[in-house]
């Protein structure tokens, strides 16, 4: 065998790890990413003539536990039909024994690779994240690994929450249409073993970092979204962090900082009770309205009112000035 180029080596490494797609309707186009337990490929669905994202468990990781987690992720996603959650098309086992599922191929950028944009647009993204996560919470699913890399923004501005591989099913798995008995029989525990830490530092709530999974509830996701908001504030493309503020993006306004602080409070009881409460505050900030996380001074309230209603105030002032000037001229 003659010398292999670096490009050939890369291909062969991929080829040696490539899933066995014989007997399926898919063909691999390229490897696009690597998650905690599986490799994601862009693949072609020959029957429907469309590209999909194919998540396949990695061979060295082919343990029953990991396969079960991947199956659970697919089932969880399949039940969460929401525009902010990537839909699953297919699930199964390949000829080489590896579990896989096919999902919509999301074209776009993860949040951490998003080009600089005004903060007001980023706040809108946080609201979309909150909506998707709130939907999952309502169906008994806590994501547990929300971070910028797990949120994709598509070409039409759509926001998709990805990678539900370490999601926690709360006490009502029936709401997902997944029977608890079947779940356990498949080796998929609705909870994770005590002491096992799942999540990402920087976005992981303190109670999650201890591995006390029974303490984790929806507020762990509130904490993580707070972390995402904190990151987004740092990466804005303008110098206006709210419609009513002229402060630098590097120094968020006090209301915005208060929202982040409340979302990321160390104690769960000091955070927003749920992600929609967080979302409402973000929406209020975006609209130039008061937020629950921050108590304004009288001066700040007057200033916010003045900025928000600047046009009618200026018109009234102009009228008054002209009126005074007219009276002064006529009175001479």
């Amino acid at each position: 065998m003659s010398g292999l180029s670096d490009a050939a080596i890369r291909r062969l490494r991929d080829a040696a790890d490539a899933p066995d797609l014989s007997g399926t309707k898919y063909e691999i186009i390229e490897r696009v990413g690597q998650g905690g337990m599986g490799t994601v490929y862009r693949a072609r669905d020959r029957e429907l003539a469309r590209d999909v994202a194919l998540k396949v468990i990695r061979l060295p990781e082919m343990s029953h536990d990991v396969a079960s987690r991947m199956l659970r992720e697919a089932r969880t996603l399949a039940q969460l039909e929401h525009p902010g959650i990537v839909p699953v098309h297919d699930v199964g086992t390949l000829g080489d024994g590896r579990a896989f599922y096919a999902m919509k191929l999301v074209r776009g950028s993860p949040l951490d690779a998003l080009p600089a944009s005004p903060l007001i647009e980023r706040l809108a993204i946080v609201e979309r994240i909150c909506e998707a996560v709130a939907f999952a919470h309502a169906h008994g699913v806590i994501h547990r690994d929300l971070k910028p890399q797990n949120v994709m923004v598509g070409p039409f501005g759509e926001v998709l929450v990805m990678d539900w591989g370490v999601a926690k099913l709360t006490a009502a798995p029936k709401s997902l249409g997944v029977d608890a008995a079947v779940v356990v029989a498949d080796g998929i525990s609705p909870t994770t073993g005590h002491g096992v830490v799942l999540g990402t530092p920087g976005y992981m709530a303190p109670e999650q970092a201890t591995g006390d999974h029974h303490l984790i509830d929806a507020r762990a996701d509130v904490y993580a979204i707070g972390g995402i908001l904190r990151d987004l504030v740092r990466c804005t493309g303008d110098h206006t962090d709210t419609p009513d503020s002229g402060k630098s993006a590097r120094a968020p306004s006090r209301p915005l900082q208060a929202i982040i602080d409340r979302a990321m409070a160390a104690q769960p009881e000091h955070r927003y009770a749920d992600v929609m409460a967080l979302s409402r505050d973000v929406a209020a900030l975006r609209a130039g309205e008061p937020v629950t996380a921050y108590r304004e001074t009288v001066f700040e309230r007057v200033r916010r009112f003045a900025v928000r209603h600047s046009t009618p105030i200026l018109l009234v002032l102009a009228y008054l000035i002209m009126r005074v000037a007219f009276l002064a001229i006529v009175g001479r």
Partner: protein, 249 residues
């Protein structure tokens, strides 16, 4: 399909054997797996010319066999690949100091080493010329350089084994699909399965099946070779995970 081939004694265990025949066979396998990375590493890291690099490569393995130095490997301290590279650095440094290269290559001989082929494999360099200074600049990470050449040799060997196996079992059509799809294109865009099927006169499903077979076999050959040159199961799993389970660095 199992994740890994069954555990068995590797050549790393064999080179420490008290039985001369076992040690000899193990050394042959070891030299086959490592002579290319050793030669290229000596050329690049130590800026040796071709003749010197060839002599040093042969001498390194001869001395290691005679003195049993590689048999002193302790898997608790490092991977075998790293240990071998450190031994090589020590050997070449001593050789430079002693400047006693007259007896190089004497004594023990192993499998034939095709240094001219290794030279051709060293990439973009015109045959017959020396390496450029840029190409010869020592790498900031010697281990990465050695590993890169070791991976290249491992895959080259596995591909050769795959081709020979396919030829012996009448499966050259499978190898051809593999060659066209995974081997030939470099950085160029790959053909689709349908294009490849049309080109080779086989249905698309056949392309998928052939490719799956060849890749499965390639994986088997790679893991077999990897297993041979790893001292422990843990080292083997670590290497396999890094080699096949992650993006190349």
């Amino acid at each position: 399909m199992g994740s890994f081939p069954a555990t068995r004694h590797s050549v790393v265990a064999g080179i420490a054997s008290a039985n001369l025949e076992i040690r000899r066979v193990a050394f042959d396998a070891l030299v086959s797996a490592y002579w290319r990375p050793v030669y290229k590493y000596v050329r690049i890291k130590w800026r040796a010319d071709r003749d010197d690099a060839a002599d040093l490569t042969q001498e390194f393995f001869s001395r290691a066999f005679e003195k049993g130095s590689l048999g002193r490997f302790d898997p608790a301290r490092a991977r075998f690949r790293t240990f071998l590279r450190v031994c090589l650095d020590g050997f070449v440094a001593n050789e430079h100091k002693a400047a006693s290269r007259i007896k190089r290559g004497g004594g023990v001989s192993f499998v034939p080493l095709d240094f001219a082929a290794a030279e051709r494999e060293m990439g973009t360099l015109p045959i017959g010329s020396g390496l450029t200074d840029a190409a010869l600049a020592p790498s900031a990470d010697d281990d990465a350089l050695f590993r890169q050449e070791w991976v290249r040799a491992l895959f080259a060997d596995a591909v050769t084994a795959l081709r020979e196996s396919c030829a012996a079992t009448g499966k050259l059509a499978q190898f051809e699909v593999f060659q066209r799809y995974d081997l030939d294109n470099g950085d160029d865009a790959r053909p689709t399965y349908a294009q490849l099927g049309t080109e080779l006169g086989i249905p698309t499903t056949q392309v998928t099946n052939h490719l799956a077979f060849a890749r499965r076999e390639l994986r088997r050959f790679v893991l077999e070779r990897l297993r041979n040159v790893c001292a422990t199961d843990d080292e083997f799993r670590l290497e396999a995970r890094e080699l096949l389970g992650m993006e190349p660095g």
